[in-house]
C-alpha cells in the first residue's frame, strides 16, 4: 500500500447524549461512504455486542475506516472512532477522543442539549477537538431545530447556525455531514519518520491473534516486525500484523504511519499489558516521552458475585477469567461469605459496568448469580497509621482501631426542566449532596451542579432521578476525590443472626433511615416460616430498626377433589420450587432476590 497522504485523513468521533442518534448516524456514514450496502448492514454495525444493541449503548469503543469521495473530487479516509456512551466509561471516552482530531456533536432536534451532551462536548473541547454540531431527528413532529441551534450557541458557545439539519434515520442531509467532516475537521499531523508514538485507545483479545491493540499513530511508523514496548506497563512484543478496521473485520496492511488509526497484534496474551491510554513505542528507537493522560483505571464499585448453585463456583471463575481477557477494568478475587458460600468480590467502573458483566455472565455463560449490595471503595485510616482500601464491608476493622474513614465523591451535573428543580434538589439533599450552583440553559431548563458521595448514587439514584422528573432529568458525573466522612457499618440480623452478605457501609446520618427501609423490604421478601422471624438492623451491635416476619399459622388449600388434582399439584410444586431458590441462613430461608432487592430503596415515586 502506497504511503497515505496525511491531508486526506480525517480522524473523528461522534459524541451525543444517549438516544440522540449517535449509532444511527454512524451507520449512515458507513453506508453512504460505500463500505457496505444497506442490505449488508445489520442495523448499527458499530454496536456489535448483543447487549449493546439491546440497551442501545456502546460499551466498547468501535472503530471503522471508510473512504469518502468528496465534492472536491478527492478521496478521503474517514476513521470513525465510536466511543462508549456512558459515564462509567469516561476514561475510555477520553482516550478515544485523544485519538481523534475532531468530533461530530449530535443533538436531538426535539430534546436539545442534555447532561451527557455537555459532558461529552466539554471532554472533546478539553482535547482540543474541533466540534462540528449536527441537529438530528428533524423528521420528528416535535423537532425545533432553530431553538436547538440557538441553545448550542448559547450554552456551549460554538457556532451552530450552519449545522446540518439531518435525519440519521431516513438519511436526509447526511451528505452535508460528510462534507463538513472534510472541511471542518483538520487533517492529522505528525511525521512518519519520527520515533514511534502511538496511543492505545482500546484493545480486544482474540483467541488466534492474541491481544489486538487499537491505536492512533501520533508519530512515526509501525509495521510487521517492529519491536514495540508499552511505555506504562513495560510489556514488550514484536509486531506480527498491522492493519485497519473494516466493518466488523480487521484488514491487514503494510504499515501504519503518523496520523493513521489502526490495529497492531504481537502475540500478546493479556489485555492487562495493553492498557487504554498507554503509549506504544519502538523499543529500539523509543520516543522521548509517553503521550499525556495515561492513568490506570480504578474500580469504583465493588460487589460480591456468588453462584446461586454453589457447585458452579469453578464455572463462575472460568467465566470471569474469560471476560477479563477483554476487559481490563474488570477485577475479581475470591471471597467467602457465611451466608452465600464461595464467590468473588468484583470491581467495576460503575453500576452499568456491573450490570453488563452480570448480564453477560448470566446470558453468555448461563450462570445463575446472587449479587450482594454494590459498594464503593472506602479508605479506612487506622490509628496505627495504616490505610486500607475497603471493598468488602465485612472486612471493616474493629471501630476501636479506626481513626477515620474517607469516601469517594463525584461532581454531578443534572439537567432538568424547571418544574422539577425542587424535587431533584430534594433528592440530592437526601443523598447528602452539596449544592454547587445552578445555571439556566434557557427559560425552561436548568443545569444543577452538586457534589455527591458516590455511594449515594450507585444504588438507585438514576431511577429516583428519572421517576421524580417523569423521565426528563439527565445526569452525568465525574470522580472528584476522597473526603473524610462519618461512616458506619450497617449490619442486618435475620432471626438474630448477622447476614454478612447484607452488611453495608453507610453515612451515620442515613443509617437509621436505610436500616429501617432495609428491614421493611426484607420483611416483604422473606416468606413466612413456621416461626416468627425478627429482622433487625444494627450499627455497632446496637439495634436501630426492626421488623418481624410473622409466623405462618395457616396455609391450607380448601378444596382438592378429582378434577383439581393436577392443578393442586402444580401449586404445591410452585411452592416447592420457590424453596429451591432460597439460601438457608440458620433456620431461615432467604430468597436469592432478597439480596438484590434491598438496593432499590427510594420510596418516592
Amino acid at each position: 500500500m502506497a504511503a497515505v497522504d496525511q491531508s486526506k485523513i480525517r480522524n473523528f468521533c461522534i459524541v451525543a447524549h444517549i438516544d440522540h442518534g449517535k449509532s444511527t448516524l454512524a451507520d449512515r456514514i458507513i453506508e453512504k461512504t460505500g463500505l457496505l450496502t444497506s442490505r449488508e448492514m445489520q442495523s448499527q454495525v458499530l454496536d456489535n455486542m448483543e447487549l449493546e444493541r439491546e440497551r442501545g449503548i456502546t460499551i466498547k469503543a468501535q472503530t471503522v475506516r471508510t473512504v469518502y469521495k468528496a465534492q472536491d473530487g478527492e478521496e478521503y479516509i474517514f476513521n470513525l472512532i465510536d466511543t462508549p456512551g456512558h459515564v462509567d466509561f469516561n476514561y475510555e471516552v477520553s482516550r478515544s477522543l485523544a485519538a481523534c482530531d475532531g468530533a461530530i456533536l449530535v443533538v436531538d432536534a426535539a430534546q436539545g442539549i442534555e447532561a451527557q451532551t455537555l459532558a461529552n462536548v466539554y471532554l472533546a473541547l478539553d482535547h482540543d477537538l474541533d466540534v462540528v454540531p449536527v441537529i438530528n431527528k428533524i423528521d420528528l413532529p416535535s423537532a425545533e431545530p432553530q431553538r436547538v441551534m440557538d441553545e448550542i450557541e448559547d450554552v456551549i458557545g460554538i457556532e451552530a447556525q450552519d449545522a446540518p439539519l439531518i435525519s440519521a434515520k431516513t438519511g436526509q442531509n447526511v451528505d452535508e455531514v460528510l462534507e463538513q467532516i472534510v472541511k471542518r475537521i483538520p487533517a492529522p499531523s505528525g511525521s512518519p519518520d519520527n520515533p514511534l508514538q502511538a496511543l492505545i485507545f482500546d484493545s480486544v483479545y482474540d483467541p488466534y491473534k492474541g491481544v489486538i491493540i487499537f491505536c492512533r499513530i501520533k508519530e512515526g511508523t509501525v509495521r510487521k516486525g517492529t519491536p514495540i514496548r508499552m511505555m506504562a506497563t513495560g510489556a514488550e512484543a514484536d509486531v506480527v500484523e498491522v492493519g485497519y478496521f473494516g466493518a466488523g473485520q480487521f484488514l491487514p496492511c503494510e504499515e501504519l504511519s503518523a496520523g493513521m488509526v489502526g490495529y497492531i497484534t504481537g502475540s500478546i496474551k493479556n489485555v492487562k499489558d495493553t492498557r487504554v491510554g498507554d503509549t506504544v513505542t519502538d523499543r529500539e528507537r523509543p520516543c522521548a516521552e509517553p503521550l499525556p493522560g495515561y492513568k490506570k483505571v480504578q474500580s469504583m464499585v465493588y460487589c460480591g458475585l456468588y453462584p446461586a448453585d454453589g457447585a458452579k463456583y469453578p464455572d463462575l471463575r472460568d467465566a470471569l477469567e474469560k471476560l477479563q481477557l477483554n476487559d481490563a477494568a474488570l477485577q475479581f478475587e475470591p471471597e467467602t461469605s457465611i451466608a452465600l458460600g464461595f464467590g468473588f468480590r468484583c470491581g467495576f467502573l460503575g453500576l452499568l459496568h456491573l450490570e453488563i458483566i452480570q448480564e453477560r455472565l448470566e446470558r453468555e455463560y448461563n450462570l445463575d448469580l446472587v449479587t450482594t449490595a454494590p459498594g464503593v471503595v472506602y479508605r479506612v485510616h487506622k490509628s496505627s497509621g495504616e490505610m486500607i482500601e475497603l471493598t468488602n464491608p465485612s472486612n471493616l476493622p474493629d471501630p476501636s482501631e479506626i481513626e477515620y474513614m474517607e469516601e469517594p465523591m463525584v461532581s454531578a451535573e443534572i439537567m432538568v426542566t424547571t418544574e422539577f428543580i425542587g424535587s431533584i434538589m430534594e433528592l440530592c439533599q437526601e443523598r447528602r449532596g452539596i449544592y454547587l450552583g445552578m445555571e439556566y440553559m434557557e427559560e425552561t431548563r436548568a443545569l444543577l451542579r452538586y457534589e455527591l458521595p458516590l455511594n449515594e448514587i450507585i444504588y438507585d439514584f438514576f431511577d429516583a432521578l428519572k421517576s421524580r422528573s417523569r423521565g426528563y432529568a439527565s445526569f452525568d458525573y465525574d470522580f472528584k476525590g476522597y473526603v473524610q466522612s462519618e461512616l458506619v457499618k450497617l449490619d442486618i440480623l435475620i432471626n438474630r443472626e448477622e447476614v454478612d452478605a447484607l452488611s453495608f457501609i453507610v453515612h451515620g446520618a442515613s443509617a437509621y433511615d436505610r436500616g429501617r427501609k432495609m428491614c421493611e423490604k426484607l420483611k416483604d421478601e422473606i416468606p413466612r416460616h413456621l416461626f416468627e422471624i425478627p429482622i433487625q438492623a444494627a450499627v455497632g451491635g446496637k439495634i436501630i430498626a426492626r421488623e418481624t416476619v410473622k409466623a405462618m399459622r395457616k396455609d391450607v388449600l380448601a378444596k382438592c377433589y378429582g378434577g383439581d388434582i393436577t392443578r393442586k399439584r402444580k401449586l404445591l410444586e410452585k411452592q416447592k420450587e420457590g424453596k429451591k431458590r432460597m439460601r438457608q441462613i440458620g433456620n431461615v430461608e432467604i430468597p436469592q432476590k432478597a439480596f438484590m432487592s434491598v438496593l432499590k430503596l427510594d420510596d418516592k415515586k
Binding site: K554, V556, L557, K559, C560, Q575, K576, K579
Partner: protein, 371 residues
C-alpha cells in the same frame, strides 16, 4: 353390608357445567346455558356413557356424584335418565352413595322426591352463608330463606344424608357473622358439612376486585379465627373432621370424595371431567362446542411412579386419619423424621397423619412430599 371382595372399586363422576348465574368467585367449568344447550349436552353425555361400562367388567361402582355447576337445574327427567344409564352400564354396589350437588332455589320437593326414586341418596346444598348481604356480594342467586325452603323440602322428601357447604373469609364477613352462619347451620343438623375458606382465583371477577386489596377482605387474624371457630364449633356439635375441609357425623363421610384422597379409580363423564384409571389421569374435552360435537376426549397423563408416590401422600394426608406408610416409608424417612420433630406430623402404627398444627399449614407440609 356385603361386599364382593373380588371386585375393584370405582367411583363415577358426572359433570354438569351449567348454572343459573356464575358466582363472582367461581373458577369452575360452568356457565349459564339455555334449555337447548342443556338438552344437547345431556344427549352427548348419554352417548359418552353408552358402552363405556364394558371396559369395567371387574369393577363395582361405590359412588356416583353429580357435580357442577348446578346439576339440580337440569330437567329432573334428564338427570334421572343419566343416572339410570349409568346403573345399566355399571355394576353398582347395593349401598352405593349417589350424590347430587345443587343450589337452594333450584329444587322443589317434587323434584327431590323424583331424585330419591331414581336412586339419589345424598344431597349437597351450596349455602355458603346465612347472611343475605354476604350472599349477594358473592353473586349467589339465593337468600337464606330460600335455602331454608330447599333444605326443608329435602328433609320432607326423605333425604337422610345432606351436606351443606359454608364459606369463611368472605367479603363483608365478620367473625361474628360467620359464627351466626355456623350456629344456624348446626341447628339444622345436616349429616355433613364442607367448610371452605374463600380463595381468590385468577380469571374470576373476584380476582379483579380483590387481588391486591386485602383490606376489602377479612384480615388474616379474623380469617384464622373463623377457621378455628369452624373446627371448635363443629367438634362440639358432634361432627368429626375427617378431611381438611370436611366434617361429618359418624358414618356420613362422603365416600365419593374419600375415593379421591385414597386414589380409588374413578371415571368422569362430561365436559372437562377427570378420570383416574390404572395410573393414568385423563381429562375430558374442556370446550363445550367440541364436546357437543362428540369430541369428548381431552388429555391423558400417565403418572410416573414418583407422581403416584407423591399423590399418595399429598392427597392421603388430607384425611385426618392419614395414610399407611407401607412401602414408601423408607423413601421419606428423613422428611418424616423432620416433620415429626416439628410436630407437624404424627406417626403411629405404621400410619402417618397431620397434627392439628400440620393441618393448619398443610400446604407447607404437603409440598415437601414432592421430590
Amino acid at each position: 353390608m356385603i361386599k364382593n371382595n373380588k371386585m375393584r372399586e370405582l367411583e363415577l363422576y358426572v359433570h354438569i357445567p351449567f348454572c343459573v348465574r356464575k358466582c363472582a368467585y367461581c373458577d369452575f367449568l360452568s356457565a349459564p346455558a339455555g334449555r337447548e344447550v342443556q338438552e344437547a349436552y345431556v344427549e352427548q353425555l348419554l352417548r359418552e356413557i353408552r358402552g363405556s361400562g364394558s371396559a369395567f367388567g371387574e369393577y363395582e361402582v361405590q359412588s356416583i356424584f353429580f357435580g357442577g355447576g348446578t346439576p339440580g337445574i337440569l330437567e329432573t327427567d334428564r338427570l334421572c335418565q343419566v343416572l339410570t344409564r349409568l346403573k345399566q352400564e355399571f355394576a353398582c354396589a347395593e349401598d352405593a352413595e349417589v350424590t347430587v350437588e345443587t343450589n337452594p332455589g333450584t329444587v322443589s320437593e317434587e323434584k327431590l322426591c323424583r331424585y330419591l326414586e331414581a336412586g339419589v341418596n345424598r344431597l349437597s346444598l351450596g349455602l355458603q352463608s346465612m347472611d343475605d348481604r354476604e350472599l349477594s356480594l358473592l353473586g349467589r342467586i339465593h337468600t337464606w330463606e330460600q335455602f331454608l325452603d330447599s333444605y326443608g323440602a329435602a328433609r320432607k322428601a326423605g333425604f337422610e344424608n345432606i351436606n351443606i357447604d359454608v364459606m369463611s373469609a368472605l367479603p363483608g364477613q365478620t367473625v361474628e357473622s360467620f359464627r351466626r352462619t355456623l350456629k344456624k347451620v348446626l341447628a339444622l343438623e345436616p349429616e355433613h358439612l364442607s367448610a371452605y375458606s374463600l380463595i381468590i382465583e385468577e380469571g374470576t371477577p373476584f380476582y379483579e376486585r380483590y387481588e391486591g386489596h386485602p383490606e376489602l377482605l377479612p384480615s388474616e387474624e379474623e380469617e384464622r379465627r373463623m377457621y378455628y371457630d369452624t373446627k371448635e364449633m363443629l367438634a362440639a356439635a358432634g361432627y368429626r373432621r375427617y378431611e381438611i375441609s370436611n366434617y361429618a357425623k359418624p358414618g356420613y363421610e362422603c365416600r365419593h370424595n374419600l375415593g379421591y384422597w385414597e386414589r380409588t379409580e374413578y371415571r368422569g363423564y362430561g365436559l372437562g371431567a377427570a378420570s383416574l384409571l390404572g395410573q393414568v389421569r385423563y381429562t375430558n374435552q374442556t370446550e363445550l362446542t367440541e364436546y357437543l360435537k362428540g369430541n369428548t376426549r381431552g388429555t391423558s397423563e400417565p403418572l410416573t411412579e414418583q407422581a403416584v408416590r407423591e399423590e399418595y401422600f399429598f392427597l392421603g394426608l388430607r384425611k385426618t386419619d392419614g395414610v399407611p406408610l407401607g412401602a414408601y416409608g423408607a423413601h421419606y424417612e428423613e422428611l418424616i423424621k423432620k416433620l415429626t420433630a416439628q410436630q407437624l406430623l404424627e406417626e403411629r402404627d405404621g400410619r402417618i397423619r397431620l397434627t392439628d398444627r400440620g393441618i393448619d399449614v398443610s400446604n407447607y407440609v404437603l409440598a415437601q412430599f414432592l421430590d
